[in-house]
């Protein structure tokens, strides 16, 4: 066994060009396929953070109207088509029923937001925040557990010049309920951990022109939103820094998911309770379907390119191994004349193929490590998971088998003595 491996290595080293070429092709294929899969993984992360909530029966409740419908005469606050009229009428009641109050028995994920100065900060539940994998241009995404003093946030690209690592101290705010600003007991330090790429996505339930929610995220482009920027933090971060009750202004968007299966009556009753209070409601299933369709549509477009890639590389691998074996046959026939069996010759040839596969694995692993540790994966928002590992292993195994098949067939059919005679004649 040792000898066979030694001879395989020797043959590989005596003319490494062809084997290295196969290794290179294999490396490119593995890398390209993982790249595509990593991209797909990262896109699925757009809905995976909220998957636990959205895959259950429920709905998304749109931002509450700026002012609640009046208790006494709701009609005067609605237009003919049912649109809520936003009014400055000071006589309107100040209190608006909270989603959580309306849906006491329902599991509600709320995207709450508050303003401190120009910072519009959205608070995500820890489990959602920890699963976010948005690509960043600066810094790194953080996890919910922390010992920092400042309130850590991730921020969209902005024209204000805020960069990763900046700490902004915001002074005490004056209380003003109309613009969402609330009073703080003391100055608050905000530390920017990461700046997202431009364009990016914001964890919002994006709405189309008619304000109906259609996706679990919203496109953000700094040239489109100009001076407007968004920040994200998690609940535990907020709890650690300040009393959340004082800071958080209101429910912005709520993802309502029922803990258990509910009857149609209960579902309709919950929906009606919200609608009655001026909230717009969209079924989770619709949003989930839209988001999945978009992700799958994008991935589907990548498939032909990856398939063409695979076919080309496959042809390359097969032909390289055929040519490589043909070149190697003369050496193997010498082994044969020195007493080696055909089986040993095949084993030596397969050994060479395995060495080639190992080189491809080392190269791909190195490339992946470089990709990860140079933060390129953060920049692209790529997510490498078990499926990448399984796919790579499958591809390498397949490639090694294909490369080993050609030498096996060629060696078993060839007559070593004839080959040597040909060599001698040349």
């Amino acid at each position: 066994m040792k000898n066979k491996l030694y001879y395989s290595l020797m043959i590989f080293l005596s003319k490494p060009g062809m084997s290295l070429f196969i290794a290179f092709e294999l490396f490119i294929l593995i890398f390209a396929a993982n790249f595509a899969l990593g991209q797909y993984n990262s896109k699925t992360m757009l809905y995976e953070p909220v998957a636990g909530y959205i895959e259950r029966q429920g709905f998304v409740v749109q931002e509450a109207p700026m002012l609640p419908p009046p208790v006494n005469d709701p009609a005067e606050y609605r237009s003919e088509d049912g649109t809520v009229i936003i009014t400055d009428d000071a006589s309107a009641p100040a209190e608006h029923p909270k989603i959580s109050d309306l849906l006491k028995d329902v599991d509600v994920m709320t995207l709450r937001h508050f303003f401190i100065g120009e910072f519009d900060i959205t608070v995500l539940p820890d489990d959602v925040f920890d699963k976010l994998r948005l690509p960043v241009s600066e810094g790194r995404l953080f996890k919910s557990s922390s010992t920092d003093d400042a309130l850590r946030v991730i921020i969209t690209p902005n024209t204000k010049g805020y960069k990763a690592g900046d700490t902004v101290t915001l002074p005490q705010q004056t209380s003003d309920s109309s613009d969402g600003t609330v009073s703080l007991g003391a100055d608050l330090d905000i530390k920017i951990s990461a700046v997202l790429t431009d364009p990016t996505y914001i964890m919002h339930f994006s709405y189309s022109y008619d304000m109906s929610y259609e996706n679990m995220y919203m496109n953000y482009d700094s040239s489109y939103y100009r001076d407007q920027f968004f920040c994200y933090t998690c609940q535990s971060e907020l709890d650690r820094c300040h009393a959340a009750g004082e800071l958080v202004n209101d429910d912005m968007t709520s993802l309502v998911s029922f803990r258990n299966d509910v009857s149609d009556e209960e579902y309709d009753a919950a929906k009606a309770a919200l609608q009655k209070n001026g909230y717009t409601v969209t079924d989770n299933s619709l949003i989930l379907e839209n988001s999945r369709n978009k992700l799958e549509d994008n991935f589907r477009k990548l498939l032909p390119a990856v398939a063409v890639f695979g076919v080309i590389v496959l042809i390359g691998i097969v032909s390289c191994s055929v040519i490589g074996t043909k070149t190697m046959l003369k050496k193997l026939s010498i082994f044969y004349c020195c007493g080696a069996t055909k089986g040993s010759c095949i084993a030596v040839s397969v050994g060479q193929t395995v060495i080639t596969g190992i080189i491809a694995v080392i190269a791909s692993t190195a490339a992946t490590l470089v990709f990860t540790y140079s933060r390129l994966s953060d920049k692209f928002g790529f997510v490498f998971r078990t499926n990448n590992l399984l796919m790579s292993a499958g591809m390498i195994l397949g490639a090694v088998l294909i490369s080993a098949a050609a030498p096996t067939v060629l060696i078993s059919k060839a007559d070593p003595r004839e080959l040597l005679t040909e060599t001698a004649e040349e």
Binding site: M18, F21, E25, I28, A32, F35, A36, Q39, K43, P135, T197, P199, T200, Y201, Y209, D210, N219, Y220, D221, S223, Y224, Y225, R226, Q228, K294, N298, R300, K301, L302, L303, P304, A305, V306, V308, F309, V311, I312, V313, I315, G316, V318, S319, C320, V322, I323, K326, F380, E426
Partner: protein, 343 residues
Amino acid sequence: MLFHYAALNIRSLLKNRLGIFLLIFISEIAAALCILFSYGLVMKMQDDGREQERTASFYSYELPGTAGLRERFGELKNVMINDISSYDAMIEVKDENGVTHKAWIIPDSPGQMLDQTGIYVLDELGHLIKNGSVKLNGKDCKVIELCDNHHIISDFKIPEILLTDDMQGLRLDIKLKPEIRPTAETVDYINSVAARIFGGTPLYNPKPADLMEKQQNNTFYAYAFVIVMIAVMNLAMYFRYIVGLRKKQIRILTACGATTDMVKNIFLIENLIELIAGYLTAFLVFRLGLFRLLLNFYPGFEDYYSGKVYLMTFAIFAVGSALILMLLISPDIRRAVSAGKEK
């Protein structure tokens, strides 16, 4: 003579090394398919990019019938212009026949204060037209005053639409001037104005860039490049192997008086014959099989392929592989020729 030798080489390959010939041939087909596919991919990405650019500042609304429009045009004075015009918007109105009518809406020309507001129509030189005739797109058009300072060009049929029978299915397209970037604020504002003035229901609004699409386009470009590169490298490897196989033959040719250039030309002609056959096969595979499959993934893919494109891709394929062939095998041929001369 050289062609004859090239043909003999191909016959010899077919007869003695059919397996190798088939591998070369399959690789050539694959390389040609890669070029054809990559071309469409790149063109599609560029087209998508252009479409995105085109629609980046594009608004579209479904309008109520003409009667409603006429009423609303009558209300424009001092209301609409102060709103929409601040975004330097151009209005395009399509009638039911799909004919587009254009007019720039401007509140005031640079450096010029206007006493009244309204829809103003500019000629091609940017001059304000109020009454009379103007040549627009090579046509003599009459400018009609609808109401105070609301001017429309007659030959563009808007007056008929506005003033005669009530028509349904009108669409209003608003396009921002190229130098104006759409923002969330603009979108909201124009939507509210369009709804208030025209009663238009939005069909399309400018959208912020999508990260996923941007990343995907970049990936496509990278893939197209790498696919072609790998295909070409496969071919190059074959060429070298073939030269290695024919060392003996090159020596004989040299002994018979052939020069290095002649040997190179034999290889080039042989390669060209194989390329033509390979490309034709690839073309058939592409048109009859792959193309339909690709259309499922990339709708509109057929728009990028015409006879001219096939000729062009063949030219790229032939010239590219000839260059690679020469670059890679020239040293080998030279060595074989000098060895032949020494012997």
